[in-house]
């Protein structure tokens, strides 16, 4: 049982960074052939909602997202489906915040189908196929990451413009050097923050 605090950013990012291994019978819930099944819908609804809320979500919210209503019978359907499949597969985590406050979140956003091989050296896992990614728009990525990424791009593009404007004699040397110094300083600061907080996430997002 967890404490009352919602998950922090670091915990959420770790769920994105790690690639979770899934046995074939669990991995199938992600595949397109399962599209339309309740299990498939639950996975994608939890992902979308937890990305918006940046934290775990309630049964009523999942029900609202899937069925457009959150009546008890619909919530029961979702809860029972999760109990029987997604929780057993370790794809969804159930968090008890209080007696009447239970919330759900995905354990990962990137999944690898594996096959277990038993050999005399012990159990081994063999990956099958590509890593499956939940759509990135449903990843719980903090706004700060996107702001830093876009600012970095803004500064980089502006430095290019400054150089070409200077080459075209559009600005005096003094002004050019002053702006180059300021914008390079800003760019370094943005890069430092990105590396300090989101280095691993940035690496994945660049792929």
């Amino acid at each position: 049982m967890r404490g009352v605090n919602l998950l922090d950013e670091e915990d959420l990012i770790n769920r994105i960074i790690q690639v979770k291994n899934l046995r074939e019978e669990c991995f199938k819930h992600l595949e397109s052939r399962s599209q339309g099944t309740l299990t498939h819908k639950i996975i994608f609804a939890i992902a979308k909602l937890s990305s918006e809320k940046m934290g775990p979500v309630k049964l009523s919210e999942i029900s609202q997202s899937i069925f457009g209503i959150n009546e008890k019978s619909k919530q029961d359907n979702i809860r029972l489906t999760m109990e029987k499949t997604l929780l057993k597969c370790g794809m969804v985590e159930k968090l008890h915040y209080a007696t009447n406050d239970v919330r759900y979140i995905l354990t990962g956003y990137r999944f690898q189908k594996i096959k277990k091989i038993e050999s005399f050296r012990g159990d081994n896992k063999e990956p099958i196929g590509e890593v499956f990614e939940i759509p990135r728009s449903s990843w719980p990525i903090p706004d700060e990451f996107f702001i830093l990424k876009s600012k970095k791009s803004g500064y980089e593009e502006t430095l290019k413009k400054l150089n070409s404007d200077y080459d075209a004699n559009k600005i005096p040397r003094g002004k050019y050097e002053d702006l180059i110094r300021k914008i390079t300083g800003n760019l370094n600061e943005v890069s430092r923050k990105t590396n300090a907080k989101f280095a691993n996430l940035d690496e994945i997002m660049e792929k």
């Binding site: 019978e25 199938k28 819930h29 052939r33 399962s34 339309g36 099944t37 309740l38 299990t39 819908k41 979308k48 990305s51 918006e52 008890k72 019978s73 029961d76 359907n77 029972l80 489906t81 109990e83 029987k84 499949t85 759509p135 990135r136 728009s137 449903s138 706004d143 996107f146 702001i147 990424k149 876009s150 600012k151 791009s153 803004g154 500064y155 593009e157 502006t158 413009k161 400054l162 559009k170 600005i171 005096p172 002004k175 702006l179 914008i183 997002m205």
Partner: protein, 389 residues
């Protein structure tokens, strides 16, 4: 010795007397004992005022474990006959017991399991509690139509299979206007996922002939339509083409990859050559007869040809050069280098700040269009960047 034995007997009698008085009900109270058959609930007892009624409130359903529940079916009082209780999923059942004496109430309940599905289905027999929960060990049939129309006459869902509790998918044979039935034994909670495919209706419109291939097709499949040639007396109808989106026609047949509902029209032309050949002989004979007969009466007809004169040239409106404007522009150019440079220098910082914001927003836009940022987050981020400005 005798005295000591007497004292011991008196003590024992006193002790028993004291215990009895502790265990006995108070004179104005009676006991109500509530229990459950098969240990389906926790028994309890209450002391209630004599000569008054006590109301027992019992929930219709209570949790058995994560995937099952107990549901109330009957009760008995003081080992009397079982009294049935109307089956209800939620709420409380209340029972008034007159407490003129002590009573035993025994509730009976049955375990129930839920069935969850991803479609609008009918249960047969229906749930005794009028929801999606069914008594343990009952057998039920889950039914739904094999096709569900999404858009009347043009788009529908065709149920192609189902899986019980995430097991392998069972294929349902395609059969129009049939109901899909799935039999389930309720020994645990079940989850039925129906798998469906989208189908589009393709219709063929033809003025003549007999058409084959009208109907419903799976999205992405290839549909083939044929039309049989149609002839009337001395008149032959010929297919000259097909009209429709993304079609590949080949004479009397046409193929298309179905990715939307639609209609295909057969284009016909009518061949009168037979009629002409058969009709030309008597017409020719009659013509020759009249030509010969009227040989002497021929006369000529003058036809006036009226020609509309067409002007060979058109006069374009004369355009005058804006001499004043040109002179001004030249003056501006002469003065520009120094002034522009000075203005640029003064406004350059502002321009660069705007450029940074523009490129920053462009990056957010590109992350949004490539599906990295959701619509909801995109609006929030744009707002934040504008505020930063």
């Amino acid at each position: 010795m005798k005295r000591a034995f007497l004292m011991l007997i008196i003590s024992i009698i006193l002790l028993i007397g004291t215990n009895s008085s502790v265990n006995a009900e108070p004179e104005n109270k009676n006991t109500l004992h509530v229990s459950y058959t098969g240990d389906t609930g926790q028994s309890y007892s209450v002391l209630a005022d004599a000569h008054q009624k006590y109301t027992v409130s019992q929930s219709y359903s209570w949790v058995k474990d994560q995937t099952s529940r107990y549901n109330l079916v009957s009760y008995s009082i003081d080992n009397g006959g079982n009294v049935s209780i109307q089956r209800v999923a939620r709420g409380n059942f209340t029972l008034d017991i007159p407490m003129d004496s002590s009573h035993n109430v025994v509730f009976s309940a049955v375990p129930q399991y839920p069935v969850s599905t991803n479609g609008t289905v009918t249960f047969s027999p229906p749930s005794p509690t009028e929801d999606n929960w069914f008594d343990a060990n009952s057998d039920i049939t889950i039914s739904l139509p094999s096709t569900i129309e999404i858009q009347q006459g043009s788009i529908r869902q065709q149920i192609t299979g189902y899986s019980v509790d995430q097991s392998d998918t069972q294929t349902i044979p395609r059969n129009e206007s049939e109901i899909v039935n799935v039999q389930i034994h309720m020994s645990s909670a079940h989850n039925i996922d129906f798998i469906s495919t989208i189908q589009y209706h393709i219709s063929v419109i033809s003025q003549y002939g007999t058409v084959t291939g009208n109907g419903w097709y799976d999205a992405g499949s290839t549909a083939t339509m044929n039309v049989n040639p149609h002839d009337e007396f001395l008149v032959h109808h010929v297919v000259t083409g097909w009209e429709g989106h993304n079609i590949k026609s080949n004479g009397d047949s046409v193929e298309l990859i179905v990715n939307a509902p639609g209609a295909i029209t057969v284009v016909w032309s009518t061949d009168y050559s037979q009629a002409i050949v058969i009709g030309i002989i008597p017409i020719g004979a009659i013509s020759i007869f009249f030509i010969v007969k009227n040989k002497q009466k021929r006369h000529s007809v003058n036809v006036d040809i009226i020609q509309t004169p067409v002007p060979l040239t058109q006069t374009l409106p004369e355009t005058k050069p804006h001499s004043e404007e040109i002179t001004q522009t030249l003056e501006d150019i002469k003065q520009a280098p120094e002034e522009t440079k000075l203005n640029n220098d003064n406004n350059y910082s502002k321009e660069i700040n705007n450029y940074i914001l523009q490129k920053t927003i462009e990056k957010i836009d590109s992350m949004h269009t490539t599906g990295v940022i959701s619509d909801a987050k995109y609006n929030v981020l744009k707002e934040k960047l504008e505020k930063d400005r």
